[in-house]
Amino acid sequence: MVTLTINGKLVRAREGEMLLDAIRREGIEIPATCQHEAVEPYGACRLCTVEITKADWGGWKNHVTSCLYPVQEGLIVSTHSEDVIRIRKTILDLFLARCPNAELIQNMAAEYGITRTSYEEVPDGNDCILCGLCTRVCDKMGFQAISTVGRGHGKEVAPPLGEAPPDCVGCLACAQICPTNYIKFTDDGTTRTIWGREFELVKCETTGQPTITKEFAAYLVKHRNIPEDYFTRCDSAHREELAKTMGRITHWGRQEEA
């Protein structure tokens, strides 16, 4: 365990833990859009920047992304100092120039008193803040279907060569965790379309309810050792079946029938 100071309060934290976790545990709200428990911290959005110093640094201080900075003994952290607020405002201002229509960014910027960007809006701007959360989650799940392509102002998240990604299984995890809801998909109950690729959904044998895509089910059967027939029914049909089985066991050997 290490002891550090966060906003003037002495806090104990586990060794190797990141600053952001310690800050959040203290109930202090700081924005962080590219952070997700499922993946390693990445430090893309820079919004979780905090000010750090130590008693023996002779007045020197540093600004670090708290999601990537491990806790240290004797660290003095301020999450809302004047400099930090200024940095966060600049970042949000830049985000707003790139993604003027993203609701999350608008709300975050409004919290810091920015309603319009002071920069020039990107003419072909979209809602993607390039936090890379989708690509990291896709990698973590083992598909690696999408990645960031291009550099500088041309950087974007896309499947290889801009074509329908062959490794995608249509699990929708990228769209679900996208902080700004930039990743779009369609799902009409029979087919699902994402990243320009169409997927057929598995339908429940009993109720006809769609569950996951055939490709995703096949992946789980092959790599996660799940019996294939688990996917033939939807969750409510599974429950009905369980109830019927339990009823049969309870009435084992009895004659009465309802």
Binding site: M141, A173, F231, R248
Partner: protein, 145 residues
Amino acid sequence: MNYRFVVKPELCIGCRTCELACSFAHSVNGKPGRSRIYPLGTGHKELWVPVVCLQCEDPACARSCLVDAITRNPETGAMDLDAERCVRCMACVAACPFGCSLHDANHQMVVKCDLCGGDPVCAHFCPTKALVLEPIVQQKKKKSA
């Protein structure tokens, strides 16, 4: 783990009090959440079964989770779903052969029974004691000859 959660279908009267208790116990921001327990008819007269997660020994939900969001809680013995870690790919919902990993569409999250951290609320409300928390009596094992 000194207690275990026991479901006794022969005592269930299908009053669905457990369902209500569950959904209130797992409310999100004051709004009732999706119940994790379903008292269902069995096709036999006056026989109901409260269908709830069986906390399997080798659960399909945990095996299908590609981000390891479902793990065994060593204190309660329950398979806990870490909502912060979940990426809502619905693999566990499709994979559970008992249909006890659920999608809460209202709150955009996947939910499952977590035994309420070791003290299931449904067991407190069950009027017929079909759901009970029973202490595990440690029996001395005879050494096989």
